[in-house]
């Protein structure tokens, strides 16, 4: 009884599962292909193909009589994006709101994230992290309607501001920007917090030791290191605002954003090609935004 049965494998019955496992163990390529098959199928077919179909639809035509979409090539929809003043105005308005929301969110997120990461103790940090995450677990619509109540003429904001001689912005672009800024703030805080966590405290001490005052340390050490995180956060705030059409409906009064135009064309107007053409605008803007970000080199260290 000297044979080593564990090495010889004689104690293990040769089941089909064992044979498949051994085969995969010996064939790394097959193993990898099986692993990525599902995600590739999902991304390729369900996601990219559907998106491409939508974009191609932009160049199709709606049958005026039946209201069905026909495969008749037509460039008017896309051209009208550049010629129709309505589309131009709404585009600039949307970009303006998206930029404002992004800037305000980044300015709010920086001190909160800094406090969480560098000032608060472990307990307070957990409480703050949960407080930041908590709104994400509530329904989008609930939050939008909550702000509708806050912003209303008889709402909390009016009650708070009246003694100061001010009044609520009400249902307006400004009100929509406030609400959107609130909606996306966690998405901006979290990456910046993550970035700051990666800045060791002794870098701040070293900077101060070498003679840099607080502001110089922020500008020369903290900011350059967390810039990629700030940009990651800004992409969230910017792109989510670009595509929004619900908040503006609930708290934006009569104003429209790009999302509203697309939604109206899909629904009420039953003009899928026009909706697809309009969808090209936010996609184009996002490409330009990412291109500009890439040129700054901020994505090199992601």
């Amino acid at each position: 009884m000297t044979k080593n049965s564990a090495v010889a494998g004689e104690d293990f019955p040769s089941t089909p599962a064992r044979r498949i496992s051994s085969y995969l163990y010996q064939n790394a390529k097959v193993r990898l292909r099986l692993l990525i098959a599902a995600p590739v199928f999902w991304l390729g077919l369900v996601y990219i193909a559907a998106l491409l179909m939508l974009l191609i639809t932009a160049f199709w035509t709606v049958d005026e009589f039946t209201g069905n979409t026909k495969v008749v090539w037509n460039f008017e929809n896309v051209l009208s994006l550049f010629t129709d003043p309505l589309y131009r105005n709404v585009t600039f308005r949307t970009i303006g709101i998206a930029l404002a929301v992004t800037v305000v969110d980044v300015l709010l997120a920086l001190p909160i994230a800094f406090f969480m990461s560098k000032v608060a103790g472990p307990k307070l940090r957990n409480v703050l992290a949960i407080s930041v995450l908590l709104p994400l677990w509530a329904s989008y619509l609930v939050k939008a309607y909550a702000w509708r109540s806050v912003l209303s003429n008889t709402g909390v904001l009016e009650w708070l501001l009246k003694p100061l001689g001010l009044e609520t912005p009400g249902y307006s672009l400004f009100g929509a920007a406030i609400t959107l800024g609130y909606m996306w703030l966690p998405y901006v805080i979290l990456p910046i917090y993550g970035g700051l966590e990666k800045v060791p405290n002794n870098l701040l001490e070293a900077s101060s030791d070498l003679g840099a005052k607080t502001f110089a340390t922020i500008r020369k050490v903290i900011f350059p290191i967390i810039l990629p995180s700030i940009i990651a956060g800004s992409i969230f705030a910017f792109s989510l605002t670009l595509g929004d059409y619900i908040t503006i409906n609930i708290v934006g009064g009569p104003n429209q954003m790009l999302g509203n135009l697309i939604y109206t064309n899909v629904g009420t107007a039953n003009n899928l090609p026009m909706a697809a053409a309009l969808a090209l605008i936010p996609i184009g803007i996002m490409f330009a935004y990412l291109g500009a970000v890439k040129r700054t080199g901020a994505l090199n260290n992601l």
Binding site: N202, L203, S207, D209, L210, G211, K213, K220, I225
Partner: protein, 326 residues
């Protein structure tokens, strides 16, 4: 005095890291703070740098009270344990940092930074990022970055702790040379007694937030004041009570170093429990009437080489080599 620490206490919550400490460090000294981890030596260094503020007491740098001043208002610079190089800046930009925040012109700071890099033998790496350097090279960048701003006092927090032995010995010599060349006060924190003995003009031995003894390496080794110092600096045979009475006829607590114990033909009989070959010396663990004793003799001692485990040897200790401990 370069540094004068007066009755400084530092508490973190209920924990007293530094306990009513007094310390004076002369200008131009290579001064080491040696002690086990948690003994308060790093906390004292951080209070000199300004990263932590004392709970009580005062700190003077060249007769100026800096107790509550921010780090950027103190004429001291620190070499950090894990270097703390700025990852987004390359080597020369790291070294220039202190000059840049002092608003020194670009040409001058380039010249001074290159000179500092040359001092630490790192001129050809000026364009690299810290991530592309080895531990020893990062250590040199951290040194260059601290000395380029010409501080009066350089603080070094276990700067060689992360390096391997050979490199550490090389850096020790370079540090000593650098200190002589610059002529500024070096304050060096370490838990490695050999390193402290090699480098320092004077050493303070820390234990439980207090200083046990301050002295030159020779004073600490030959005349330790307490058992803690005797055991922390070198190896010590300490006897007290009945053992001291029996062996030396004294009621005091006494210490003798292993190399002062002679193994010869005359003296008290002892049994060899263990022999250890250390290259240049042989170390014997002996049992002397039930008391354990460590003796060390030259490895080239022909007779000592013949003592094996279990053998009986004769031990000779001179009373004049005894050091009385408090």
């Amino acid at each position: 005095m370069a540094i004068s620490i007066r009755n400084v206490t530092k508490k973190f919550g209920d924990f007293t890291a530094v306990d009513d400490l007094n310390l004076e460090i002369k200008s131009g000294e290579f001064f080491s703070m040696l002690g086990p981890s948690g003994s308060g030596k790093t906390t004292v260094l951080r209070m000199i740098a300004g990263f932590d503020l004392p709970t009580n007491g005062e700190i003077y740098l060249y007769e100026e009270n800096v107790t509550t001043k921010a780090p950027f208002d103190r004429d001291v610079n620190t070499v950090f344990q894990d270097y703390a190089l700025f990852p987004h800046l390359n080597v020369i930009e790291n070294v220039e940092y202190g000059l840049k925040v002092r608003k020194i012109s670009k040409t001058e700071r380039r010249i001074r930074a290159m000179a500092a890099l040359k001092k630490v033998h790192l001129s050809e790496f000026s364009e690299r990022k810290p991530a592309q350097l080895s531990g020893g090279q990062r250590q040199r960048v951290a040194l260059a970055r601290a000395i380029v701003v010409e501080p009066k006092i350089l603080l070094l927090d276990e700067p060689l702790g992360a390096l391997d032995l050979k490199l550490r010995e090389k850096m020790q010599i370079e540090l000593k040379e650098l200190q002589r060349e610059l002529g500024i006060t070096f304050i060096f924190v370490t838990h490695d007694q050999d390193e402290a003995l090699t480098l320092s003009d004077r050493i303070a031995i820390f234990n439980n937030g207090k200083i046990e003894q301050i002295g030159t390496p020779r004073e600490l080794y030959e005349k330790p004041a307490t058992e803690f110092v005797a055991r922390f600096v070198g190896t010590a045979n300490v006897f007290e009570g009945a053992a001291a009475k029996e062996l030396f006829g004294t009621t005091a607590k006494v210490m003798i170093r292993p190399e002062q114990i002679q193994l010869s033909n005359k003296g008290i009989e002892a049994k060899v429990l263990e022999t250890i070959y250390l290259g240049s010396t042989l170390r014997f663990l002996l049992d002397l009437n039930g008391h354990q004793l460590i003796a060390e003799v030259s490895a080239s001692d022909d007779q000592a080489q013949t003592y094996r485990r279990g053998a009986t040897v004769k031990v000779n200790m001179s009373k004049t080599d005894l050091v009385e401990l408090s």
